[in-house]
Symmetry: C2
Subunit: 236 residues, 2 copies
Amino acid sequence: MARMGPDERRNAIVGAALEVMVERGIAATTVRHVADRMGTSSGLIHHYFASMDELLADAFERAASQDLNVTREAMSRNHTAVDKLRTFFATYARAEQDWAFQLWLDAWAEASRRPQLRATSQRLNIAWQRLLAETISAGVVSGQMSCADPDAAAWRILSLLDGLALQAVAHRGSIDRSAVVTWSVRHAETELGLADGTLDGSKSDAAGHPLGSPCNRSSRPPGTPAPPSRAHRLPS
Amino acid sequence: MARMGPDERRNAIVGAALEVMVERGIAATTVRHVADRMGTSSGLIHHYFASMDELLADAFERAASQDLNVTREAMSRNHTAVDKLRTFFATYARAEQDWAFQLWLDAWAEASRRPQLRATSQRLNIAWQRLLAETISAGVVSGQMSCADPDAAAWRILSLLDGLALQAVAHRGSIDRSAVVTWSVRHAETELGLADGTLDGSKSDAAGHPLGSPCNRSSRPPGTPAPPSRAHRLPS
DNA sequence: GGGGTTGTTGGACATCTGCGCAATAGCCTC
DNA sequence: GAGGCTATTGCGCAGATGTCCAACAACCCC
């Protein structure tokens, strides 16, 4: 209906697609659902996106890169590698927000059959790993931590986090949710030669950024005005 | 065409479904594909399975429980907990066979929207964890290894394995395939207070079962006569 | 061999899929 | 206000989807 400029419209489409993807899953998201969500025709979507794969990849990128940027920015406010790592675990969203991590699950599964989505999810996964690896490297240089292979350690820390979150999200009840982060933190401490408790979230002595809760990023699915409405669509 | 008894036919359907699931992914498997694969009509499938969810769950169960049983059986041929663990890593298939692990990826992603599939994948995931946990417990009792919480350690070891395999399968090239098992083994050794190299696969001193390669289970997708054909359908 | 049981067929049903295209409607410039 | 640019429509296309059901055919028992 409302006539928009190309950038604005593209943005609106990506936003609507993201909402649908959160509700129905990446695999079940269709052009018509996205169009209905925006209140426009389905032809419009194909005017801006050459294929469904491209749209899904762009929408996933928005959700995932936003999470990454929030964490990256929060970490940049810390000065020492240990503080940065503590912030990393404190702001790590995937493990805490089902809708965001379910998106990752969908992306990993779909990756083998949607080239553009795979490229995006791989790029972002590597970005997460590099963020960790660079922090670890800095910590080694500064002498705060010890690690023979920061690159490998980063993959292990991230993979344990993902593997545990996977169980918590896909199989509710198998693993206590708090254990996902607790265990990952403990593993990181061991891996990096840090004393037990060094990376625990409670002692957030970093700069005075107002992190009320451990989850500081967009705590609701995109476009969802209030949490209750999501409970309808995604009954736990 | 050929008239079969109920058990035989149900079995044939599950087998055909599994082939299609491996080729096209769980989400893209349809009744007609399965029927075509068997050379029968599509109506026949619904005569034996009330819904698609039920069929997918049964087929996934066959693939996953077979892998579990092979590993369990191989481990039972060892006498010490350390030997059992070594066999566990040596026969762990998910990390090595893309088609099997891709099935797990699909199942985890689909779990939130297919109740029966979720129940099955959760049950089997827990079975894997218990297999590990019980072995660790036995090792602690025998004094071979030390571990304050075998149950939690089992989840961590399994999750790191899954998290690493996830990257190797979904994002080919991110992680060296051999690192998936190597890193997991090292982590398990640290977690259980074992000396480095204790769980390495090369020193397979167990009973004389003919394990030519580290992968001892069904090394090809179900129903696939030769590996080359899979390369066509699942280009790496 | 006849009759009943039951595995199997093949298509109907309504709905959905990604994609493309002519026609339309809104906005900006002159 | 006229003209042109372009965002947007609305439907068509060819095919796929899960589910259901009356009809058919193969088998076994009597």
